[in-house]
């Protein structure tokens, strides 16, 4: 029945006759059989599969002339059987029969599939070879040939990006270079490569090789891309090359290069790598005047800074008898040094945060009044909340209010320590007047300390103020540390302060000082010392330090010290990726859970922002297998650090863990989500975290609220309606008498994180250029230790970075001009201030007379008056120019206007589709892509990325430029009338 129909068809239903031919002796018959089979193999593969051995034997047979044909058929059959690796090896055996098919116009599905397998295999073999060293087997030449031909095809067809991807994955540097050289759009390809290299290449060593190659290519471009060159060099940590590059730029006699040099310096500064920046600074060309004076450059630098006064940004006096060019160069070098020292950035940020401070005091007051007075934890949390909300703004109105002073006094012992440190947080960045700010609390110059807690706190506060920029204060702090002998509280503060100020300085002296404290084997001081040692040696992977610390950790009896050391060791391994593997192995295999805990954080620090798969796997493994809850919690939390560069992955990775029966794991997953998705407002993260704020365990609720606050920081209601619900639920939780104290603690801090830094900062673990931000990651890692020790929560101030867009001209001053944001004003506006709830009086007047008069008034009148008031309060009156309304933040103005309209009309008028923002402006991360320069603007940015600090080219240099008035906060100024000498150099402490 079947056969007639089949034989009439074009092909045989069965290929049994052909298969029986294979058993013949005659080669010709076999060849004929194979030829016929090749035509029908796609349809009769199932039958041929039963005789695949015969065909494979034919391929093995040297005497058979058509071995390749046999291989091709075998390959196809294996392909149909979905055994791709066999199929691949036979396809390679088929030689030209297979490769010709690739080149032919329309490759079949089979060819496509096998080709992708070829590339996969090639990549895995190349990686194995490059990692396995010389003993790895050489790669099959046929494989290589096919991949080569693929490259050629990509080149000829212009699919450069694909070629770049394959070249990167298969670690073919030669091909990578070829890709870039061949491509028409070299700059575009380079940018693509740079991004791919940073995000996709997992191996640090290979990444560095690629970066070196990229630097070379960038240099050969017609118009070298200095920004990217320096970015690559920074990633390579090649300070000499960066210094040389910057030197070369400023030596050129055009404004363009000068601006570029400044821009690069700002960008470098954003990465916070202190020792690297120091090295770059010392590598800069020495100006003529200094050579004349023949002073060693380091002291000259110090003196110079001192003379200049911080944010005044005065150009240095031109030295005598120098040529015009030399003078110019000198100014430029000085500017550059100042930028690299971070002073300029800090000054500008300080100015920005002070000027735009939009803290809602009512929230704080509400928190304060809602809480029971006696509970020290919530009291401490409220003080801390104030610090977070005012972080870096220098506005300390809340604590200086008389009624609050009394309330503050309730803080005793460590709470006092913490409260004093909060002052440091508020004044974060006042590096030139730090000691003046903390004057009241610092240990007396002579005699015994009487107030150990506030003195310790003050030293810690100094560290927070100077975090990562400690040149001015290090000497003082280390002297203090040496001076205190027997007071562990002060020692604790001094160690933390020293660690923060000397962060990543790799300063051996500091390290030795701290080690001395550690060796006193005092639990409280030792913990801080261990942590500080890590901070000082941050990211150096110094073997000596690691060994000493590990040995001591295994030796000591104090859990606190072990914990401090464990985190310290983690910090030392910051960013080392594979370089930290031995250390990680050692720590994770330790029998002491605290060291294993440190091991988890070592993974977090070493692989932060890499998304490295093996690190994730390791953490996930520990998260479900360790016996200690602490270690499991840490492992899950650390996932967040590893995934900071790919936040969209995090909720998915931890979603299962978030449903774990173990509350520690749930807490960890909440925090991980918060860390990875900080400041993104990501929907998935919110969906994951929201239910967890109602968890049955108190500390899970705490973690979830903290995390959610980090995710939702600066989100506006327009963009994310959940913000309002979240605020309400926090408020409810704080007021709820029956709520558990741990959850309450979380709620209070979460509330403050939402409005951190006067609503002008975000939690950011990445820099302007998209690479990881050292201080951010370190701050977050240490912040997570608040679980054991509340005062460590202050480290969160390191993670904050102002969300600003500030344009600077070549004199590093802010000219007056506007940016345009292509969004409705309400989309990225500040959240509205909370209103005082009054049941009887609806009128504004009534509200104003109510209890919180001072603040409400301040709030209503706007911050100008506040400035004025502050000035009056301040010791010396600044010559502050009253701001013109035009100079006020236009965004703010728009918002006010629209609010007014709301009130008047009742119905909302249509919002404009664009917003004008004046320099310096608050620009949220999500807003960045909408920012443009107006068409007829006088200035033109040198960098394409419009956020952070941007150098501007003046298109009309002859006209007089209008400069934004600087309204430096009073407290941030160095004391002038005081007879006390200025801070950096006064205390030449000699025994």
């Amino acid at each position: 029945m079947g056969f007639p129909a089949v034989s009439s068809g074009p092909l045989l239903a069965s290929c049994r006759p052909l298969l029986s031919l294979l058993a013949e002796n005659e080669h010709k018959l076999k060849q004929y059989a194979l030829e016929q089979m090749d035509k029908i193999v796609d349809y009769n593969w199932a039958e041929i599969a039963d005789h695949i051995e015969q065909i494979e034997e034919l391929y093995e047979d040297d005497k058979f002339s058509h071995r390749e044909l046999a291989a091709l058929i075998a390959s196809k059959v294996h392909y149909h059987l979905e055994q791709f690796s066999e199929s691949l090896s036979y396809a390679l055996g088929a030689g030209t029969l297979f490769t010709d098919q690739i080149a032919s116009g329309k490759p079949s599905q089979y060819v496509f599939t096998i080709l992708s397998k070829v590339i996969d295999k090639y990549i895995s073999e190349r990686i194995e070879k490059s990692e396995g060293g010389s003993d790895a087997e050489p790669i099959d030449g046929r494989l290589e040939a096919i991949v080569e031909s693929m490259f050629d095809r990509c080149f000829s067809e212009g699919n450069i990006k694909q070629a770049v991807g394959i070249a990167l994955e298969s670690r073919r540097l030669d091909k990578l270079e070829a890709c870039i050289n061949v491509s028409g759009d070299r700059a575009g390809t380079l940018a693509y490569t740079l991004e791919a290299c940073q995000t996709l290449v997992q191996s640090r060593t290979f990444r560095n090789t690629v970066l070196t190659v990229l630097v070379q290519i960038y240099r050969t471009l017609e118009t070298p891309d200095y920004q990217n060159i320096c970015l690559c060099l920074m990633l390579l940590e090649d300070d000499k090359a960066v210094a040389a590059q910057l030197g070369e730029l400023i030596k050129r006699d055009d404004e363009e290069s000068e601006l570029m040099a400044y821009q690069i310096a700002f960008d470098l500064c954003g990465s916070d790598m202190q020792h690297f920046l120091l090295a770059v600074r010392s590598g800069l060309p020495v100006p003529a005047s200094e050579r004349q004076s023949a002073e060693p450059p380091s002291t000259a630098e110090g003196g110079e800074e001192k003379a200049e006064g911080d944010t005044e940004m005065k150009d240095a006096e031109p030295p005598r008898e120098l040529t015009e060019a030399e003078k110019k160069l000198e100014t430029r070098v000085k500017n550059l040094r100042k930028i690299l020292s971070g002073e300029t950035t800090i000054g500008i940020h300080l100015e920005f945060l002070f000027r735009n401070n939009k803290t809602d005091m009512l929230i704080l007051n509400n928190i304060k009044s809602a809480l029971e007075v006696r509970n020290s934890i919530t009291h401490q949390a409220t003080v801390f909340a104030n610090a977070v909300m005012h972080c870096g703004t220098t506005v300390d109105t809340f604590i200086s209010q008389p009624e609050n002073l009394e309330w503050l006094k309730r803080a005793s012992n460590w709470a006092k320590f913490s409260a004093t440190a909060c002052v440091g947080m508020i004044h974060k960045g006042c590096i030139n007047s730090s000691r003046n700010v903390m004057k009241a609390f610092l240990p007396p110059e002579t005699g015994m300390s009487s107030q150990p807690y506030s003195e310790g706190g003050a030293l810690y506060a100094l560290g927070l103020i100077h975090a990562g920029h400690g040149e001015g204060i290090l000497k003082y702090l280390s002297n203090e540390l040496k001076k205190i002998k027997n007071n562990e509280t002060v020692q604790h503060g001094a160690c933390l302060g020293l660690g923060l100020a000397g962060m990543a300085s790799a300063n051996d002296e500091l390290y030795e000082d701290l080690k001395d404290v550690l060796f006193q084997d005092n639990a409280v001081a030792g913990e801080a010392a261990g942590l500080a040692m890590g901070l000082v040696m941050l990211g150096t992977a110094s073997e000596k330090a690691c060994e000493e610390m590990l040995a001591y950790a295994q030796d000591t009896q104090h859990e606190k010290i072990i914990r401090g050391l464990a985190i310290g060791m983690a910090l030392i391994m910051y960013g080392r990726e594979e370089g930290a593997d031995t250390m990680i192995e050692q720590l994770t295999r330790d029998k002491d859970p605290i060291l294993r805990y440190g091991g988890m954080y070592t993974i977090a620090c070493a692989y932060s922002g890499t998304g490295n798969n093996s690190a994730i796997r390791r953490l996930l493994h520990v998260a479900v297998s360790d016996v200690s809850d602490d270690v499991r919690r840490a492992a899950v939390t650390c996932l967040g650090f590893v995934l900071t560069n790919t936040p969209e992955q995090c909720p998915r990775v931890v979603s299962l863990l978030a449903e774990s029966y173990n509350p520690h794991v749930r807490y960890g997953s909440a925090l991980a989500c918060g860390i990875a998705c900080a400041g993104t407002g990501m929907q998935e993260a919110i969906e994951l975290l929201e239910p967890m704020t109602k968890d049955s365990t108190d500390f899970v609720r705490q973690g979830a609220m903290l995390a959610l606050a980090m995710v939702l920081i600066q989100e506006t209601e327009v963009r994310q309606p959940k913000v309002k619900d979240f605020r309400n639920s926090l408020e409810k939780m704080i007021k709820d008498k029956h709520e558990d104290v741990m959850a309450k603690y979380g709620a209070i801090i979460a509330m403050s994180i939402l409005d951190a830094g006067g609503r002008n900062v975000t939690v950011s673990l990445t820099t302007r250029l998209g690479n990881k931000r050292m201080s951010g990651i370190v701050g977050m890692a240490v912040f997570c230790q608040y679980w054991y020790w509340f005062p460590l929560a202050h480290f969160i101030s390191l993670t904050y970075s102002p969300t600003c867009l500030i344009g600077l001209n070549k004199d590093l001053k802010m000219p007056v001009f506007d940016f345009i944001s292509h969004t409705k004003p309400s989309t990225f506006d500040y959240p509205p201030m909370t209103e005082v709830k009054t049941s009887t009086a609806p009128s504004k007047v009534a509200t104003a007379i109510l209890s919180t008069t001072a603040k409400t008034e301040a709030r209503k009148k706007g911050k100008k008056d506040e400035d004025g008031k502050k000035e009056e309060e301040g010791a010396d009156k600044m010559d502050v120019v009253k701001e013109e309304p035009g100079k006020d933040d236009t965004e703010n103005k728009d918002a006010n206007k629209s609010m007014d309209e709301d009130k008047q009309g009742g119905e909302k008028k249509k919002e404009p589709n664009t917003t004008t923002l004046s320099n310096p402006a608050r620009v949220l991360p999500a807003q960045r892509k909408y920012i443009t320069m107006p068409a007829d603007c006088r200035y033109e940015p040198v960098s394409k990325k419009l956020w952070g600090i941007v150098m501007l080219r003046d298109l009309k240099p002859d006209e007089k430029a209008e400069i934004v008035e600087v309204t430096i906060p009073a407290t941030a100024l160095p004391p002038k009338e005081e007879e006390e000498p200025p801070p950096p150099e006064p205390f030449e402490y000699t025994d």
Binding site: G2, A13, Y43, P691
Partner: protein, 527 residues
């Protein structure tokens, strides 16, 4: 939902008896075109959801709804659907419209409105009374939304392909096979060109109807290669539903030409994707493999497969499929030496179809070769068309064996002539050989006395002294365990379902979906 509607109808009919005023209500007859369009819109909304969420399960739901839609299809409906859901720029639309217009419909049926439609109308009516003004505003808003929806659907290729699929089905139903074939093949081409995962299910249905039409026009020999190529593509794309459909089509194609060996090799070289494929496809696969194995003499496996196929098939509908499965299963069970349950033959709707098999079964049971031959002669043509003939021929030995067994237990000593006569065998010599063979095989425990030409049985063993009861028990326990495992497997949640945090709305949605699935299992007429 269907349950709801039944309940509702029941309620309504109850009311009818009570109140005359409402007597008209249950008989709400609405324009069939509107009813169909409402139903179609429902499907389209699901498609929209599937495309936006990239969830294949919504697409499966759409495919299930085809059954319901199929009954409502008419020329008018399709023309309107083409107008609403297919973009006029589409390269296929002209051809498809021409196909639909080529159909001559004899009568316009009045269709009772499906549950959803009538409910919706009722709802509208209620609104009518409540507030006219409100309604107007609402309608306006609704219209605006609807316009936006239709506009959106024009840009979704799935919608277009879905309508095309409906046209194909309609043409098939109206026996315009050639047009149906070209419609289906243009659908396949177009759907393939998009390379979208949400298209996979429509594509697999497209292949299904295409193959069906080709089979009906007697061109199935031509399509095998295309099916093979399509199968490879689906396997590479991990499109499990398509893979399952195409594998079944291939097996069916081979079996149609009695290419059992090829079918067997294909079956052994591939694996059926059990994860995502629908139950119906699985049932079909089990049926085909059962048939193949039966021919290959692997009766035990064949019987298991056929039994499972019968069990997996929808229990209310798909009568034809179940009939066929039972026919084979009865024969295979007989070949295994077992006698099927009497109840098998008295199942609802199957009595007539299984009657010939009942006769065969009776003949085997009593070992009456005469009755067996009579049945064979009487129903030979039926068996041939059922393709069970070749298997039934094999049963002759079983009949003889059973007969011999009976004789063996009844007589301690019997002459071979008598045996020959009793079994209606042709000659005594034959009988001798047959008896010898049976003794050799251990079917009976006896000896032949060649001198006296008699068969002498040995004492019958007490079966309870052997391990036979144990074997039987084991078999049943194993069956129960297997059943349990399957049930547990079927209860597993799909991956990524978060039942914990779903909102009330989502839960309602899910419940609705599940219920619908249950109903569609019952009313699936894929077979």
């Amino acid at each position: 939902m269907a349950k709801d509607s039944k309940d509702q109808k029941a309620q309504e009919s109850g009311k009818v008896s009570d109140e005359n005023a409402k007597a008209e209500k249950p008989a709400v007859l609405i324009d069939p075109v509107t009813a169909a369009m409402l139903e179609l819109k429902n499907s389209m909304q699901t498609i929209d959801k599937a495309v936006t969420s990239k969830e294949n399960r919504f697409m499966s739901r759409v495919i299930r709804q085809v059954t319901k839609l199929r009954r409502l299809l008419s020329k008018k409906v399709l023309l309107k659907a083409l107008e609403t859901y297919v973009s006029p720029d589409s390269p296929v639309i002209e051809g498809v419209v021409a196909f639909v217009e080529g159909v001559t419909e004899d009568d316009v049926m009045q269709v009772e409105a499906p549950a959803t439609a009538s409910q919706e109308i009722e709802k509208n009516a209620v609104i009518d009374k409540k507030a006219e003004e409100e309604k107007n505003a609402e309608i306006e808003k609704k219209e605006r939304e609807e316009a936006a929806f239709y506009k959106k659907m024009l840009s979704i290729p799935e919608a277009e392909s879905f309508v095309q699929l409906l046209v194909t089905i309609y043409l098939l139903d109206k026996k315009y096979l050639d047009n149906a074939i070209s419609c289906a093949s243009s659908l396949i081409q177009r759907a393939q060109s998009f390379n979208r995962r949400t298209m996979d299910q429509i594509l697999s249905r497209g292949y299904f109807y295409w193959a069906r039409c080709m089979e009906l026009t007697g061109k199935s020999s031509q399509i095998r290669n295309e099916l093979l190529a399509a199968y490879r593509t689906t396997a590479l794309k991990h499109d499990q539903i398509g893979q399952a459909t195409l594998l079944n089509l291939l097996l069916r194609n081979y079996l149609e030409f009695n290419l059992y060996e090829q079918a067997d090799t294909l079956m052994r070289k591939t694996s059926f994707p059990e994860g995502d494929a629908s139950n119906n496809q699985l049932a079909r696969y089990l049926y085909y493999t059962g048939r193949i194995k039966a021919v290959q003499l692997e009766y035990t496996d064949a019987f298991l497969n056929l039994q499972q196929a019968a069990r997996k098939a929808p229990q209310q509908s798909a009568l034809g499929f179940r009939k066929t499965v039972y026919k084979f299963s009865v024969i295979v069970q007989l070949l295994l030496g077992e006698i099927p349950d009497r109840s098998t033959f008295s199942q609802k709707g199957m009595i007539a179809a299984l009657k010939p098999y009942l006769q065969i079964c009776q003949a085997v049971r009593v070992g009456d070769l005469g009755a067996f031959h009579r049945a064979m002669q009487e129903h030979g043509d039926t068996f041939k068309s059922d393709k069970t003939y070749s298997l039934i021929v094999r049963l002759r030995h079983n009949v003889i064996k059973t007969g011999l067994k009976k004789i063996n237990t009844a007589y301690s000593n019997i002459s071979l002539e008598d045996v020959c006569a009793k079994l209606c065998l042709e000659s005594v010599e034959d009988t001798r050989f047959i008896v010898a063979k049976c003794i050799q095989d251990g079917v009976i425990d006896a000896t032949i006395d060649h001198e006296t030409n008699t068969m002498m049985s040995k004492a019958n063993l007490d079966i309870y002294t052997t391990s036979e009861p144990q074997m039987q028990l084991h078999k049943r326990v194993a069956f129960c365990l297997d059943m349990h495992n399957q049930a547990v497997k079927a209860m597993r949640y799909a991956e990524n379902t978060k039942t914990e945090w779903e909102s009330a709305e989502e839960r309602r949605e899910r419940m609705k979906q599940e219920e619908e699935r249950m109903n569609s299992m019952d009313s699936d007429d894929d077979f």
